[in-house]
Subunit: 462 residues, 2 copies
Amino acid sequence: MNNIQSYIKENKNRFLNELIELLKLPSISADSAYRNEVLKTAEAIKISLENAGCDSVEICKTDGYPIVYGEKIIDENLPTVLVYGHYDVQPPDPLDLWDSPPFEPVIKNTELHPNGAIFARGACDDKGQMYMHVKAMEFMTSTNQLPCNVKFMIEGEEEIGSANLATFVKNNQEKLKNDVILISDTGMIANDVPSITTGLRGLSYVEVEITGPNRDLHSGLYGGAVANPINVLTKMIASLHDKNNHITIPGFYDKVEELSKEERAEMAKAPFSLDHYKKALDINDVYGETGFTTNERNSIRPTLDVNGIWGGYTGEGAKTVIASKAYAKISMRLVPNQDWENITQLFTKHFESIAPKSVTVKVTPHHGGQGYVTPVNSIGYQAASKAYLDTFGKTPIPQRSGGSIPIVSLFEQELKSKTILMGFGLDSDAIHSPNEHFGVFNYLKGIETIPLFYKYFTELSK
Amino acid sequence: MNNIQSYIKENKNRFLNELIELLKLPSISADSAYRNEVLKTAEAIKISLENAGCDSVEICKTDGYPIVYGEKIIDENLPTVLVYGHYDVQPPDPLDLWDSPPFEPVIKNTELHPNGAIFARGACDDKGQMYMHVKAMEFMTSTNQLPCNVKFMIEGEEEIGSANLATFVKNNQEKLKNDVILISDTGMIANDVPSITTGLRGLSYVEVEITGPNRDLHSGLYGGAVANPINVLTKMIASLHDKNNHITIPGFYDKVEELSKEERAEMAKAPFSLDHYKKALDINDVYGETGFTTNERNSIRPTLDVNGIWGGYTGEGAKTVIASKAYAKISMRLVPNQDWENITQLFTKHFESIAPKSVTVKVTPHHGGQGYVTPVNSIGYQAASKAYLDTFGKTPIPQRSGGSIPIVSLFEQELKSKTILMGFGLDSDAIHSPNEHFGVFNYLKGIETIPLFYKYFTELSK
């Protein structure tokens, strides 16, 4: 494409400032206290799509937060790219671990981002990566180089399970009709090692509640004679992994796709330093399922992690109490072929079955989604691969990610099209963590690479 | 003693109102936010002792909350009773489980308290039981029937481990010199089954912190490959009990006093209904150490309970995070001969030893205390027994309690005198729990019984 570099050079500061303004909005979908901020963010997205040259932009109501839709149809005979992203963000806590306030973006240099990185909740996941597409669109329309039709679907509930997206997609199949779906909500191996995510893990997220006595008890008068819901919960959770860190839920592995020696050998080619990995996390050792490497454990294998646990007295000082209830939030990452609803049922059945008679158990499913794999021989993948080669000077490595974007498999099912995951973030960008950031290099490189995907996808579609 | 009943009848409402005023003060020693309220409470105790006829009352500074001391010496040749109690209370949370605000006392009838019970934090533990002694003193002085010398020592740090009491006692041995120590901070079996506590459990209270990665991580990108501090903590805590609910800490049981068949048979005589016990707590089954009855499990056997646990995301909705840290507050109830400092060391050593290399562990001891047993053939016990017989019409049953009053063993060591535990509360009074209460019957019965203890103790001492 013509003068994309110069266009980016000229507009770099504006591109950064526009993103910074967007990052100032605390669009935390998980916390209803931020409802108005989330809705404000949808408005801001609408305006940015209009400014980028979309013809008709609308804020589509759902039973939850709205979906911002925009499109530019230049020729019915040309292919159509559907861009998906989300404008909501993860809760920022623990706040005290942020070096700067999560919703007051600042640009700082880091070892991996010598040209600076934008620090803010949502900088990488997904406002920054979503906004690359808006700016790429702006470039293509303002320089009359848009080679095909484009549709944008930006939702506000991705971080809480996209509860209302499925209905929207099912009810708008014609409107959302496309030839390929483009999403930037994943990462790449390194700024000098471009990669494209070809697999995602599924997810089952549940909350469990253990109830013992009908009230908090004095641990002296009752201790030892009554089941302590916290002790019981720890025993139940601990029992979900065996000594090899295999998950003990009956049937959990039945559908798990086992990769061939060759596939695992191919995976192992991705550059990886265990020492650097441990150093970056400040841990003495890694930990996981026996018989698999670190990269396999967090991509092609299912997992079970406690994301939160609470019960009893957690304040200052000491309280000698046996709590009436104990709680945990537990999520399972799933691999392709594991059905998340089936796994949720297996978990619930098993968790209830291992509870001692002295307590009662309640399992509440939060949300979930299926895993996904995209073939590297598709037109979409090839177009993306060529785009990266042009801008990074290297052919990207196909890579399985451990993360989940549940709606990707939904899109394939409902819209019958494949998704290409062009992620420009790094694993070290601390998404979902304090001090989330997104490299300025990555942001601009994304804006530069995306238009080339459109170009090659249109050419290869002929 | 003369006209004690009539005196109580005449002054019943004033006795209740004075206690209610005292209960309105939120003297929560564990939470520094309530510092001024705790200090205010000490002032109120000082005034109440002066009004009860103590000659010299002083608020004695410590490095923490002050100790209120008062005395009335009528004759150096007569025996001296030292009354101990505490004016601080447990934190009231969870607040939402209280039927009425914890510091707005109300009198309501209950199944076990048909004549009404005062509902408020501290009603039973220990403001109500401590204030019985103040009113008993008032009766004896105002009717010129005080048979011996009396000293009061009311502290404000019992609920946080009496950190500064030991120093105070060590530095004031002459001032605190006595022939018997009287404490009402325990319970009795039932309003028609009086009992005297002859044994207390010791306590070791620790806080543990597990640290994994140096920051919260995305559970998709890292899940399965990095030790999750919460999962690890549950495994470590779960491993502290074996399948028979024996505690697995090496050396933990070494000093545990094993009771004889005869002693256990004697204990078993105390009236107890397992069905009523389960019904009262709304549990399907009890739970505890194999080979021991419920009453043994919570009195003559040591225990390990998690009193609080927290880590990760505990807010509304879902967050797919692997927390950097996980925490728990753990307390162990100990039996006579188990040294709490030794047990704390054994716990720390063991807990650190079972941590996987992939995390770091920090164990912080909060506080602790030794167990205690008092002989039933002492003058003090005999005097108490006769007092109960007069007022309840029944000889009280000697009973081991599962609770801890760490300072009792300290008193014996420093002041060389035995403690008599004349408790008038019921296990069902929900001390340390929401809706703590204290029966009006029990409060008044205590005021009636205590002067008789003074009478008989003085007579038996001749």
